[in-house]
Symmetry: C2
Subunit: 437 residues, 2 copies
């Protein structure tokens, strides 16, 4: 994992800390949600696995170090700093909210406690990895809620911001409640169920639609999903039915899916294919899924691309990575920013989940009857235990989301979930505000 | 480069083509812009280098082949197909519009001509690679236009959809006209100029702002950019000035930048720092840059993050990858879709740029006095010549954009640029429509 996958200022600051003799000073940074994305009542934490992979493998190659040496920003930096980079390892601690956990505005997702340089460099990679997947998981959860029990499939790799974002987006969509993805690499890497049969180019590659259907059936047997809208959807449905079994289902990708789904259902039923599924795809989002379901269209599975793979209505989220504490020769200094709209709260924290509210507290606090959400993941550079996989994260998400109120689970924006500060945290905030220069 | 970085249906179709004896049938696919993103008068092509890298390195590992073998969708597929995958190489042709070229709705970006399977599998990776970078380059061009000569820096890795998207986003932003990026890996990999000095955590890590400024100056010398808004912007400006030279400039990251920039300019000028630059960052987009410039604020460089790195107002674009031609035993069959809003035009094409309009033509047409934009890049699996680098692509973009009318270059949406179809293409469209079943 490349050490240069960061903003240059993290590296100039690293050099500066090193030259100022601050390399081994312990610092605590907190990655938290400043504001929820618009049109979201909660987000679902995802992407921790990639943060862990990054921290455990963070290294600087000789080529990277040479590149830095050649930059004007490093002209005044001593050779000792480059030696330090050559031997760089993350030796700190990571505390994190488990993947699949719903979170709200003002809540922390990760805490990094490490020598200052080691905690500073990961900022952009951690922010990017966890924010992106959390956005996608959250968007997926909305679509799944709108589907009211019907399956939602992630189909959006081609719209993702790079192919790699497609792979990780498929993972995040699954954690958010999708039943699977079209991305084959997501399937192999993360064990996510993969779906996919044929595109329009398949149908168009054969001399006739019927021939293309026949060949697909021969290939896929009971997995066969015929794409029936290339020429005429109802004609396509009739052809799929005429071929006889096996047939898992059909896919509609254009037109008025509510009307078409009813007509196709009737064609399939009359031909004895009561078990065959109808899948719909093409420009779907959670609002459109809600409408289609509300209209009673007999659709069993929704395939969603663009809107999910880019979290199109909220492609970014205001997450921040802030220094909250430094430890100089055993003396803690608490750090906070009090600027308007950009404030940050001092000190390492814990987030407690109670049945009816969350409580933000100081890291050493205990609270019975509440779930402590920030859990140790890496201690002194070592992974404590394997992380739950994507299946476990998905199960957690489904369970936690089901426990939220119907209002929070609705597509409309409602009042924020209550977040309280513990007395100890309040006291620390007041003291820190008083002491600032 | 992993062969599984694709949608599963591309691979099931590949198996189906193979089993149907169509593996070596030549096919032509066209990647084109169905519609421009909202609020764009043109896009700037970028991402071709990554498409080429992908095609030249596309392979299937033994692990990937084993994974596919175990999927129910491949239960009926013969061993010969998996042998084919083991030896898979892209042996086809790629024609592409050079990076840095402005393009409009309805125009092709790439043409892939290859044995059917080889042309089918790359669909999602090509779409994702080229669409994402083109979105970012296009967004960058708008910000650069709004800056009217002031520098625009890309600062958005932390908001990108995965860290890798941050690296490539930095590249694309540079092609679109930014003067550089904060992403260090973008700098090393693509030779893009990198910028970056210090964050708020730097200032907060020292006992006082003055001490942090002093240390930064010691580190960076003439590259020093002091971040002056951590406590109080004007006080910060005074402290930066009091330290004396060297000082490249200061950065404002919050507050009313128009007013603050004037006050800071005056502080710097009075202290003899007429040459010191003022950089502004924090929640900027092209409209805000336009306002700041229109207000006459003395800002020299803008640093842009979220809005640029995610193309926030248009995080996706309707690009498509469509089969336009198949070649069966030397007989060409032209393919088109005539569905409403989803039509595609038959046959391999050429795009000609004339001074006042573009002409979409058939691939073999010639036209004097016009630039043929779709140029050969890969022939029979081999790169024809090294691609122009990011600097050349950026120079092309700046030159081509300057040649567009002021209306097209404005931030408002104007009438579409004229795109005509050649007579030969029109004839082909009519014939193909007539012949369809």
């Amino acid at each position: 994992m490349t050490g240069l996958l960061t903003d240059l200022y993290e590296l100039t600051m690293a050099a500066g800390y090193f030259e100022a003799g601050m390399a081994s000073q312990k610092a605590t940074f907190e990655l938290s949600i400043r504001r929820l994305p618009r049109q979201r009542n909660f987000i679902i934490a995802a992407g921790l696995a990639q943060c862990v992979e990054y921290l455990l493998n963070l290294r600087f190659t000789a080529e990277e170090i040479d590149y830095l040496r050649g930059l004007p920003q490093f002209a005044r930096v001593s050779g000792a700093f480059f030696d330090y980079l050559r031997d760089f390892r993350f030796t700190g601690d990571l505390f994190a909210v488990p993947e699949g956990t719903p979170l709200f505005a003002g809540e922390p997702m990760l805490t990094v406690r490490a020598p200052l340089i080691q905690a500073q460099i990961p900022e952009p990679a951690l922010l990017s990895a966890i924010t992106f997947q959390s956005l996608i998981a959250s968007k997926a959860a909305r679509m799944v809620a709108a589907g009211r029990g019907r399956g939602v499939l992630e189909f959006g790799t081609r719209r993702a911001h790079t192919p790699e974002a497609g792979v990780l987006g498929g993972r995040a969509a699954y954690i958010g409640g999708c039943i699977g993805t079209s991305n084959a690499l997501t399937g192999m890497r993360y064990g996510v169920p993969v779906f996919g049969t044929a595109a329009h180019s398949w149908v168009l590659s054969f001399p006739s639609e019927l021939e293309s259907f026949r060949q697909l059936q021969k290939l896929l047997g009971p997995q066969t999903v015929q794409l029936i809208d290339t020429y005429d959807t109802l004609q396509g449905a009739r052809r799929a039915a005429e071929l006889g079994p096996p047939l898992w289902g059909v896919r509609l990708d254009s037109g008025d899916v509510v009307t078409l789904a009813r007509q196709v259902r009737s064609i399939l039923d009359q031909a004895g294919f009561q078990q065959a599924k109808i899948m719909a795809s093409g420009d779907l989002d959670e609002y459109r899924i809600h409408e289609i379901v509300a209209a009673g269209a007999p659709i069993d599975v929704f395939g969603v691309g663009t809107e999910l793979a880019t979290s199109a209505d909220a492609p970014s989220m205001s997450t921040v990575y802030k220094l909250v504490e430094v430890d100089i020769c055993g003396i803690k200094r608490f750090i906070a920013k009090f600027s308007e709209h950009k404030e940050s709260l001092p000190g390492a924290k814990q987030l407690f989940r109670l049945p009816d509210r969350d409580v933000l507290a100081r890291s050493a606090e205990c609270r019975s009857g509440a779930e402590a959400l920030l859990r140790p993941v890496i201690l002194e550079g070592k992974l404590l235990e394997p992380l739950p996989d994507a299946h476990a994260a998905r199960a957690r998400a489904l369970e936690c989301v089901n426990r939220l109120s119907p209002e929070l689970r609705s597509l409309e924006v409602v009042d924020p979930y209550p977040l309280e500060y513990s007395k100890e945290l309040q006291t620390l905030i007041e003291q820190t505000a008083k002491n600032r220069t």
